[in-house]
Symmetry: C2
Amino acid sequence: MAARFGFEVLSENGGARRGRLTLAHGVVETPAFMPVGTQGAVKGVTLAQVEALGAEIILGNTYHLHLRPSDALIARAGGLHAFMGWSRPILTDSGGFQVFSLAGRRTVSEERVVFQSHLDGSECWLSPESAADVQARLGSDIAMVFDECVKWPVTRDEAAAAMQRTLRWATRGRARFEALSSGTATDVTPSNPGQAQFGIIQGATFKDLRDESVAGTVSIGFEAYAIGGLSVGEPTDVLYDLTGHTAAQLPPAAPRYLMGVGMPDDLVNCVARGIDMFDCVLPTRNARNGQLFTRRGPISIKNAQFAEDSRPADPDCSCPTCRAHSRAYLRHLYMAGEMSAAALNTVHNLHFYLDTMRGIRKAIEFGRFDDFKQGFLDAYTRPQRD
Amino acid sequence: MAARFGFEVLSENGGARRGRLTLAHGVVETPAFMPVGTQGAVKGVTLAQVEALGAEIILGNTYHLHLRPSDALIARAGGLHAFMGWSRPILTDSGGFQVFSLAGRRTVSEERVVFQSHLDGSECWLSPESAADVQARLGSDIAMVFDECVKWPVTRDEAAAAMQRTLRWATRGRARFEALSSGTATDVTPSNPGQAQFGIIQGATFKDLRDESVAGTVSIGFEAYAIGGLSVGEPTDVLYDLTGHTAAQLPPAAPRYLMGVGMPDDLVNCVARGIDMFDCVLPTRNARNGQLFTRRGPISIKNAQFAEDSRPADPDCSCPTCRAHSRAYLRHLYMAGEMSAAALNTVHNLHFYLDTMRGIRKAIEFGRFDDFKQGFLDAYTRPQRD
């Protein structure tokens, strides 16, 4: 158990939990949304802007940072926090999701995954042990164990095989993490002695496989547990059903992290099912494509209807973009190809996500989460996705 | 004379002047540098970042804004300040420089310049009167009169013809400006009743033509005067010589604006020659190309020598980029193609320019401008340009 890791459930409201996560670089109030900082930067904005928006933890990608600028270089700089100039908590993924996305450019064996770098085609590999090593060098506050992800749809046999391999890899990854944390392994020097490691539940959309994955992963023992392999194309009702089913079996004393989810209404619906932590590229990626989230649903700022619209992106929003700028100006910047379009849109979308989490936390504290959820879902019009 | 325009020389130090410019949207301490906001945005950064850096005035481009989103749309939004969400002063150029840069896509007559839009090839035109109209709709604090620019090198006859046409156009542009300001012309409603208009001195590198341009332009009478047609390729000593020669003849009671200049050492050397206002794309454009200005001269952040350099871009700098980030991180962001590379580099370069102006102003106040200039030039290594 990492020395500085702690989690406290402050209050509960049905399945929803209001908690406080203590990590080596600070406290994270939960339920929390983690902006994605793939290459050591949150796309479109500066870290000062991310900090000003109130993000308490961000995510970094092991795969990307391993390839460029390399975890060795980052370790020599003192770890990812020092390298980036970001002093709050960081979670790093294991690289698994990226590596398994490289279809046709990777070879999976029991020992490891060999893949070609998307940057220069050079041959690289990651294993449960090396993913732990890379993350130890990066020095994130939360490291994720190396897992095998499958796409949707998948056969039961494929899902079972990937889940069982994930369990075997979890045993190896945890052993390596413990050897690094305890100082038994001396060939890699961890940049952050307070790093925690989360296990990942797999099993696709098969509940009995999810159950087996939970039992096996919890028996290995991690600081906390994530639900992986969802939000990969399955219908929303399946996502919610599997999330609720899996979260209910996870140890209540540890935070539950739903990986890669999701749309704003997904956050609300999955908090209701016991999730404490989320990450997703949607607020940042969609901002760069001109989609702005609002309390009434997303709008596409490039639409001609906004050319002379003097209202802010979301009239109910207090973010720096909405306080200063009209939809007409944001549309102009987008159409003119100005970089600040991406920055202003990203500031707004991240604020929307982080503010939704603030609203969720406050609602749970006051025992009014059901009202909050109903009000949010009544106002929010979801675009077609499924 | 625009109602709210004022200029006061607070102190002088040799040729250098410490002044205060009062405009409809606020006060500008001079000597001042104006960041360029071509399309209603300073490239790479948000206006909140520009404001936080202490910029007291920015520049907008009449040509670009006329074409997109159009001065008519901006007027309906209440003018450029309201459209952009920027409450401090704005200067708009006349469009002349951009139009004359469209070699092969424009036809100049005494009446007007007909040109093809760089956006869609459609036929457009600007004249002394229409340039005043567009700027009245934009509602900038300072409008520039429409002039004819020539490239370097140019024959004496070409320079004389362009200078004399600029004088004739100045008479027409001023008459239109006064008709708009006084309400005699009612077909265009100015967005900013406190708008001032500056005349522009031409004459290329011929001192007698510059003299004739000064005499003619001053006799028409503008709130202040700009030196145009320099920094178009001529050697630096010619730029300095012509600047000093021309500035000395301009009315001392009005601010003097040197258009499109320049490198950091140009600012210092031209303040010494009596210049009060500058604009230039170099700090923003070069930032996007990875060039960072420092007190010892510019560095190219993409160079491999910075891959593990833990120092800030400029160790003597107090800007948000240098306070938070290392050269190694900035290089990583640049090499990884992250947008925040442009933002962080632009923040630094604009800070460097604005801070150089703060240093210049303080030095003049204390009667130590010569020492400041010598110290600056001794430390600053200029890259090859001429």
